[in-house]
Amino acid sequence: MIEVHNVQKSFDGNPVLKGITCTFETGKCNLLLGGSGTGKSVLLQCIVGLMQPDLGSITFDGTVYTNNKVQIRQEIRRKIGMLFQGSALFDSMTVAKNVEFPLQMLTPEMTRDERRDRVEFCLKRVGLENAGEKMPSEISGGMKKRVGIARAISANCTYLFCDEPNSGLDPLTSIKIDELIQEITQEYNITTVIITHDMNSVVQIGDHIIFLYKGLKLWDGTKDEILNAEVPELKEFIFSSSLVRAAKRIDDETHNGVTNL
């Protein structure tokens, strides 16, 4: 479980995060939902330690991460897997080398054969068993995300962070990526945090949803609760999706007002 307590961050006097408190639960897909520029990526970067929050603290399973000793931060970092918005694969390495990289760096005690088996396993897990020898420039965007996931999980991460895992993908591929992340989360009981503004993902994998608006947390709950949320900003956000509007209408008609998406 990751606890975020009163995290604040501003850039040149411009507040971006205005005191965010939330928890991300283990074994669940925790979604960070919100419009463009609301500070989702900044919050994620604060959590994984790429940025220092101005104020507030972040705790990983009881261990304080912010401003702690370098060794302890290092320990926690080694348990973090992250899928970046643009996949961020190392483009000088093959797909297999990309997946092997965290193993090489973080678990030097592993033998070459063990690493090869692990890479094979991870690539198979994301459905790319035949792409190991390809270079990142030779594969499609959806495949890159899969490789990114494989790289994130190869060193057995306990915390998985995904920044917009399905941006720029077609609906079918993006559902598959969502399902993959959900399966991995449940299978290995890890704490997964996903940034998204895709309502499809929300209703599909949103075990725990946190809605950010202009640097504040306005709402949190599950996918079953979100359609009945009474926060105007969230309503506006959700029902800007015409698919959701249509689904809700059909649902309301058939269930006579009881939403059960």
Partner: protein
Amino acid sequence: MVKSFGQFLLFIQSMITRKERFAVLWNRTIDECVTIGVNSIFIVAIVSAFIGAVTCVQIAYNLTNPLIPKSTIGYMVREMTILELAPTITSIVLAGKVGSSIAGGLGTMRITEQVSALEVMGINSASYLVLPRILAAILMFPLLVILAMALSIVGGYLAGSLTGSISAQDYIEGIRSDFIPYNIVFALIKSVVFAFLVSAISAFKGYFTEGGALEVGNASTTAVNNSIIAILVADFLLAAILL
């Protein structure tokens, strides 16, 4: 200016505190030696051979006084190339080739979040990405400069004998007279300093790129500009101090 110099020093410091395992750094350094050193042999060879040739022909053209022995041409080619042209011109050429590739490579890694990916894994990206490049440059520049010295003397020999401006015998006599071994040491010291300047400045510019592809291009250009200026300033300072 002062601020970026301070940042530069902090950057160098961050690179050497919290280093990666030796085996990792070593492998990376060998890889970089190939990109920085081996892949530059061709351009360095061409440039230095021609510089030797041109130096020889032009000195011959200027030395029309019959009282000065012809072998002086060979002597002057040797002195000029070893002391100044081989280390400095080679480093300037490498500033263009190696500097732009270091800055461009790191800049691209930065804007595509590859640097962040390393950091998230708990890897000191400055040490992992930059230290091997600087070490490789420091290992490779002197070797390339030695190659350049040899080839520019050969270039002068060929040009002299082909154009007939100096006989092979005179040339060889010239390059063998009054040889000061310290000059070679001095040239190699220069090349090590230039190697550090080129690789560290370019890495600094690339590593802190912000924005997109345009900024990566700009980072490469400024890296090369600043490296060349640094080389020339250091060249002057070293000559003033060490000679």
